[in-house]
Amino acid sequence: MTGTMTGAAALLLDLLLVALVAFAGWAALAGRGVFRAVVFFIAYGLLVALGWVRLGAVNVALAEAAIGAGLTGVLLLATVGRLERAGAARDVPPVRGAAAWVPALAGLGVTGALVWAWFALPLPESPGPALAEALPRSGVENPVTAVLLNFRSWDTLLEAIVLLAALLGVWMLGRDGDWDAPLGLRQHVRPGGVMAGFGRVLPPLGLLVGVWLLWAGADAPGGAFQGGTVLAAVIVVALMAGVATPPGVSALPLRAALVLGPGVFLGAGGVLAALGGGFLTLPEAQAKVVIVAIEAALTLSIAVTLAGLVLGPPTAANGTAEGGAEPNANGPAAGRRA
């Protein structure tokens, strides 16, 4: 009796979740108005994170909540504001004809292929026989961390470097004359106001959660990317609230923080290779120490890199970067009504 009730409640919950995810996804694509689409994208990320928890993939849920709904949402909100200030925001009329149904058919095709794969492929065992056999020798108990930092650490190393390359790409969008300026816009708030107070309340809490996620990641869901994203949020909130001023691109501490993670990762690989084990082949006895050291360095670098991606390229003054010479000289309010 209790079993059927639990099953029925779980089914109800899952059906509701699927309906909400599908609606949020459809609304983000189908509705008019960029701002509404962005808000639906944020809501979609939150709901998908719930879905990942329901599927037991808490690592993925953490990443989706932090990156998908959180940082990307802030990035998109800032983009909408920037487009409007530059007078470039406009509502696009609904797409009709072939331009609408060709992508729709392609999307349906991908969905059909995924459904087919779901039925055609054997259900994977968790964590899988090969992984279950190797996991005790990895130094950590979280299978995701074991794969990311031990069995397939090459992928993670290259990902960290890709992230750095992305930040360099964003910096290249800055103007020559602005190169020595601090990163992003000059933030200003009312001293003692709500925003300034918020910038002092949230960062300590976020710091605690970020470090906890890094530490817990060895044996439970969490890890460098999840912890680093939360720390990036802490940095962004502190800078937006005017608690601190962002550094310029040539600031040595900033550059050191950016290369620390990939540097420690490469250095560990080199040392292990020199000791005869092979590049990034972790010895069983020291595996946990090496993994935690690499993850700690990676967390700091990921946090600073993601915060830099959200802040944007170096900008001398808010006016010049927002297209002061553009025809839209009558201010942001006109752009917002476009």
Partner: protein
């Protein structure tokens, strides 16, 4: 934890989730930007509640997801407020910044064309 309690927790989680449907409707309808953003914040708060209700059944790691949702939702609110000020870097409470999102609907400043 006994079986009946798990069922009730799931049922409560489904109930909270159902209220998020109303929040999504408000994101759709708006009309002011602050309405949409606050509704998204409500989805975040409701999501935290759902995760807290799921944690006994799904494993306590779900609480970490709830913590992350709570912190990142606060960041989204800050990002929204920042983006709605004239230069994208201010705060509405500054005396020289008239763009208060709360007054958007009063001014008829709707983003739907």
């Amino acid at each position: 934890m006994s079986g009946w309690l798990g069922g009730w927790l799931l049922l409560c989680a489904a109930g909270v989730l159902a209220t998020l449907g109303a929040a999504l409707w408000r994101v759709w309808r708006g009309p002011a930007r602050a309405d949409r953003m606050m509704a998204a914040q409500l989805v975040g708060t409701g999501g935290v509640a759902v995760l807290l209700l799921l944690a006994p059944a799904q494993g306590w790691a779900a609480l970490d997801v709830a913590l992350v949702l709570a912190i990142l939702a606060a960041l989204a609110a800050v990002g929204f407020v920042k983006a709605s000020t004239p230069d994208g870097a201010g705060a509405p409470e500054e005396a020289d910044a008239p763009a208060d999102p709360a007054t958007d609907s009063a001014r008829g400043d709707r983003d739907v064309a």
